[in-house]
Symmetry: C2
Subunit: 489 residues, 2 copies
């Protein structure tokens, strides 16, 4: 398990957040402080009122106490009366140990003001649990719910955890182009761009870049170029797919973690690395010592104990994740299909065909009961750049040195491969896939001049959030989701 020490704080320029005020290491000042935030809840009694104030920095908020037992405290009473859920307030008073249960510290309010009112009749964010669909329609306010805020903090924390992990492993974070002239997967489901400033918006007739340009579907080819110089590179970057799909696992705009490194020459090396990075994420989120358990708590809401235990278990150093070849996977799937007389799957498992979502889930959830790397898929199912295995690898046909990481409840979380570094093999693969060699001259040059064995992987960041946060749909794993037919704001 990795030891984490936080970077020493820079000099604070802004006043402490509520998270900082509640931190055991925060020294409570003897003089009154000022706290800003939004009213999360309010409870009025005869002589005293309580309001929980949140600033989004942590999950619980700060309890504030308005004593109004006698006339000299009538200011507190009238202030407390003006508070409504969602109102923005600035309060000052003494921070002190709380005698009550449920919080360590509280603020004894001495003065304050409502900075922004919030009419409780009209406010779209009510205290009770709101339907997912309703909140999607209100996505500019969605971050104000406990779940929405916890998800955003989880994104922040996991992104930071990944940056730390890659740094420790000697990787350099890079930014690859979003606008590109090539289509990494050859899938055709890409967005095309045109310039508004051109009088004719038809992109066939006018090109800002003098050639057709698309939104990237993957940074991989560009990362490969950088890996032939910097050896180990990664990026956490937006990617786009113009798929009309309406599943719980697809977005038109999503963030992808992609890494590429030189001098790896076997699939096991790729799998071991991905396993290490994911275990680092799991250990930071589950079990004793997890420093990021707080938001996971909000998101799981108690939730499925067994499922959570399985994630804690999967994060353990000594628990090696399963590997199986595509050959073996098809064998297991076929066996199960026969045993259940074909009732288990809608699609019959067959060598040479892609694994369906139902197959992937069965492998991870039922057969392995945990994360599993499926390796060495048929070459015909995979893009041109994957490194071909020697033909002896499968009796059924040629395969490539690749893997998909399947996990319970999600299915495919990550996928990667060795890349074909042999110039003649790569040239042949480009031809075989019906691609134009002239479009890939630069890519071939990466091999021609000091080519290195290398490989990498991509991981959908929203799927990772979905996995760690037990969030049903990736539309709830990003602040402002976009999918076919839907783009608010």
């Amino acid at each position: 398990m990795s030891l984490i020490l936080r970077r020493f704080a820079s000099t604070s320029i802004l006043p402490p957040t509520i998270r900082q005020l509640l931190s055991p290491s925060h020294v409570v000042p003897p003089t009154p402080i000022e706290v800003n935030g939004w009213v999360k809840s309010i409870r009025r009694q005869k002589n005293v009122s309580f309001a929980v104030i949140t600033d989004g920095s942590e999950r619980k908020g700060l309890q504030t106490v308005f004593v109004h037992a006698n006339e000299s405290e009538s200011g507190n009473l009238s202030l407390a009366k003006r508070l409504t859920n969602g109102a923005c307030v600035r309060l000052s008073g003494q921070l002190c140990d709380s005698p009550g249960k449920g919080q360590v510290r509280e603020l004894r309010v001495e003065a304050g003001d409502v900075l922004g009112e919030c009419d409780p009749e009209e406010y779209p964010i009510q205290k009770q649990s709101l339907p997912v669909e309703y909140l999607r329609d209100k996505c500019h306010l969605r971050a104000r719910t406990d779940h929405g805020a916890a998800m955003l903090r989880l994104r922040d924390r996991l992104a930071g955890q990944l940056h730390g992990f890659f740094k420790d492993q000697g990787f350099i974070s890079t930014n690859t182009p979003i606008l590109t002239s090539n289509d990494c997967e050859g899938a055709g489901e890409t967005f095309r761009i045109s310039s508004l400033s051109s009088p004719i918006p038809d992109p066939r007739l006018s090109e800002f870049f003098t050639q057709p340009s698309y939104l990237t579907v993957s940074s991989q080819l560009h990362l490969e170029a950088l890996a032939t110089s910097l050896s180990r590179v990664y990026t956490l970057s937006p990617c786009f797919r113009a798929e009309p799909s309406q599943t719980s696992r697809h977005l038109a705009e999503f963030w992808m973690l992609e890494a590429e490194w030189a001098f790896v020459d076997n699939v096991e090396g790729l799998c071991a690395f991905v396993e290490g990075s994911m275990k680092d994420i799991l250990r930071s989120s589950f079990g004793p010592g997890a420093d990021g358990g707080e938001d996971v708590e909000v998101l799981w809401k108690g939730g499925d104990e067994a499922r959570r235990g399985a994630l804690e278990e999967a994060g353990k150093e000594d628990k090696k994740w399963e590997r199986m070849s595509y050959d073996e996977a098809i064998k297991e799937l076929s066996k199960h299909n026969e045993q259940t007389s074909g009732r288990s799957f809608q699609f019959k498992p067959e060598w040479g065909k892609g694994l369906q979502s139902e197959h992937e889930k069965w492998l991870a959830e039922h057969l392995v009961k945990g994360p599993v790397f499926v390796t060495d898929y048929p070459a015909s199912l995979k893009p041109f750049y994957m490194r071909s295995n020697s033909s002896s690898c499968s009796p059924h046909g040629p395969t490539v040195a690749c893997f998909d990481l399947l996990v319970p409840h999600i299915g495919e979380l990550a996928g990667g491969s060795l890349r074909e570094e042999r110039l003649t093999h790569l040239t042949a693969a480009i031809e075989k896939h019906g691609l134009k060699k002239e479009d890939y001259e630069w890519y071939l040059e990466l091999r021609k001049f000091g080519g290195a064995p290398h490989g990498g992987f991509g991981l959908g960041f929203e799927r990772l959030i979905s996995w760690v946060g037990a969030i049903e749909n990736v539309r709830e794993c990003i602040a402002m989701p976009r999918w076919a037919g839907r783009m608010l704001l």
Copy 2:
């Protein structure tokens, strides 16, 4: 100055990089190790050959020594003969203290292989300094030059430094949409997208999202939505401008750091924060204690001592950066213009007109001789969302609570403002700017329900790289630049 402690390393999954091998904290193993990389230079002598191997992890590379004094070492001789600049090699041998000058450790080669050859006649990356334009044409190989690799490592380090700074200040890193239905600046210079899967590529006739969609020019409006929940948010994200400009400061695709936070209610609060963040960057790069000076060294190549000294000076805690209002700036510019009988500037400085690049440079380079915040511009020059000052602020007309940060050699590095949080003021501003209120209903709701005083700024990441790295043109500040008419790869 902020104290920085590195996060303790995760268990290493990959073998050490050359940076790690050369680190004083690396314990040299008694047994032979394997080193992978590319040949940076080679020097053959009668009994011994030397090759410097780089893996891009640091600037100098590792010296490797091939002893071939007698026949039993003929393997070393034939290996050394096969090495050419740019070739990819795997070498094994004993890492040990170097008796030579210029390096602390070296590798005594015992065995090895050329993994990828590189024909020196054909290799586009020659040892001598190559023209900038030539390297732009070869941008898939540009990272193999010392300058290209150092720039990419600088990007990595400064991004990490910014993430650390914002975390310390209680900010949450977020991802805002790239595809959007609104145009933050109302500038019209946006890229529009269409879906390839539609049979008709004319975006007027077919919309993937059922409405026109654009590439974002700024994350600000979206960040504002998140700041009303999380209080302090930022993003380092790609932005797009379909400007046909061909200057050294503009790209069609660039990365922008944008931050937004609640409860700031004066421009000085914004300026102080931006100054703090930039000083953190400067101190990490210049002067004693800078942990990132290595790549700065490569990029500056000795360079202008005075200019470098000025950056070190600007980073000092007690050196407060200048502030001046737009009013004052116009006064100073006009005075200088008169004193030089109008010969100084192509454009006459005049209240109500924007500051030209020549004006900005004069203010920072000649008048202030350092970074300067120019504040409170005329409302007519700025977007609708900036908070209006009371009319008494300038005798010439209404102004808004904003700033531009101007620095020598770059001009505008960052810009920001308080945002109008008063519902009636904001509604009036939307009308005044000729915008449709119905497009901004969600934005108005951020004020209607618990609106908070808030503000923020944006900073061009490539301009920051240009400033710190003394790189002339932003096209050399990103791996694969895009500008009007140019999009390789």
